[in-house]
Symmetry: C2
Subunit: 231 residues, 2 copies
DNA sequence: CGTATTCTTGACTTATATCAATGTCGGTGG
DNA sequence: CCACCGACATTGATATAAGTCAAGAATACG
């Protein structure tokens, strides 16, 4: 299978690279199709590759010793993932599961330093990417520390609608299958509480639910909720 | 004031740099003493410099719109901080306060890319540093999602004892002034709850408290608590 | 010394988890 | 094509961890 360099070039991460550099990167890339529900890699497995998501949607999860699961982040098209070597560790800290049918590109881990040495700009961009991710993590910590569940869920849903929203007749539809359990694992609560909150919102016309479906009908009211206005 | 390059060289971040490179970095460095309680920079201020903590202890805080404060992280000697440019932003995302009298080294923000271009290795190491920080943030998210307050506080205290512990007669003393409020802001709870927990621990001989003081007397029992053993 | 933080402790409230039961959707295979 | 099964979702009742409110005690500091 052949992947065109123009696809990579459209991503911020690679836009500064020259065509020859891109081609030499692509030479070593291994494309792979991942079926919904399948794992790209598992938590604790040796980090032999790092990846780029071309199409689809992944969730990165971690399980605690006592078996509780959390969603560390969602991976959207254009995102790098499986970045273990940046964390100076040799195994993956989480599991990457396809939330929808996905297409990924993989490179052997040891190619990373070669690419970076060839192209220092890539290192800078990659660091900015991780930096943004750090900032997102801090945002989440801040929310979990100070906000009650409903606001956290509101924020999470708004974020999803930005990153994975597709306009439909009724509003903005989250463009991949997402369960109440998923939202619970993203916000540090239980599926029961999420279900209650979404039911309440639905009866107010703010969202429209469904089995693994979610559509935001009234983004403004959701924003009000997220920003603390008592509805 | 002159800072010796051997100080920098002992830090992992700089250990790979050559002496001339280090000297050229030091040429542009501005040392500064920060009194306890003073801020190195404030949340939202333009990020004109990035810094290295040589001595002392800082806390990086963020305040939410409604005035609640959280501690994003502690800065320990040898840590870089005020890294806003890595996050592709021009202002500081938090406030850096001296928890104890501190000594820092500052460089103009725009020097960063010059240093990195001179020394690509520095970029790799810096990325690993941020990567570690990201992992710490994820750990915190995981704890806040799945663990009850007492376990979170136990983890936080254990971490502090690793990063800032000094052996004393009674056990391991946290080597800078730290209040119950601080611990609450690190674990996403209230000073009342922290106070109750520490009181309970003290009566069991696990820790020894005091005004802005904390000594761990029985690290093993604390570990048991952190790992979920009902005491 | 007195004044201001910081800390402790008790009584009460509440948000959210837990427990439990039932309902509904959507795909699979008979 | 329909019936059934398993996964997902809803909703009520109850429990409880932790927050809030309130008051006072201890410690440091000027």
């Amino acid at each position: 299978m052949k992947v065109d360099r123009t696809i990579l070039k459209s991503l911020p991460l690679f836009e500064r690279m020259t065509d020859p550099d891109l081609d030499s990167m692509l030479e070593h890339a291994v494309p792979r199709r991942v079926a919904q529900g399948d794992a790209v890699f598992e938590q604790g497995a040796p980090a032999r590759s790092f990846f780029l998501l071309l199409h689809g949607r992944l969730k990165v999860t971690q399980v605690t010793q006592d078996g509780q699961q959390i969603i560390v982040r969602m991976v959207h098209p254009g995102d790098l993932f499986g970045f273990a070597m940046a964390l100076r560790r040799s195994d993956y800290p989480g599991t990457a599961l396809a939330a929808a049918e996905s297409l990924i590109l993989g490179w052997p881990t040891d190619m990373w330093s070669r690419f970076v040495e060839q192209n220092p700009r890539l290192a800078v961009t990659a660091m900015q990417t991780i930096g943004q991710r750090l900032e997102e993590a801090h945002t989440r910590i801040r929310e979990m520390s100070t906000e009650e569940v409903e606001k956290r869920v509101a924020h999470a849903v708004l974020r999803l609608s930005k990153q994975a929203g597709r306009p439909v007749a009724a509003g903005i539809r989250i463009d991949f299958p997402i369960s109440r359990q998923d939202i619970a694992e993203m916000t540090g609560t239980t599926l029961h509480t999420v279900s209650r909150i979404l039911s309440a919102w639905e009866s107010k016309g703010i969202v429209e639910g469904g089995r693994q479906k979610l559509t935001i009908c009234d983004p403004q009211r959701l924003l009000n909720l997220a920003d603390g206005a008592r509805d």
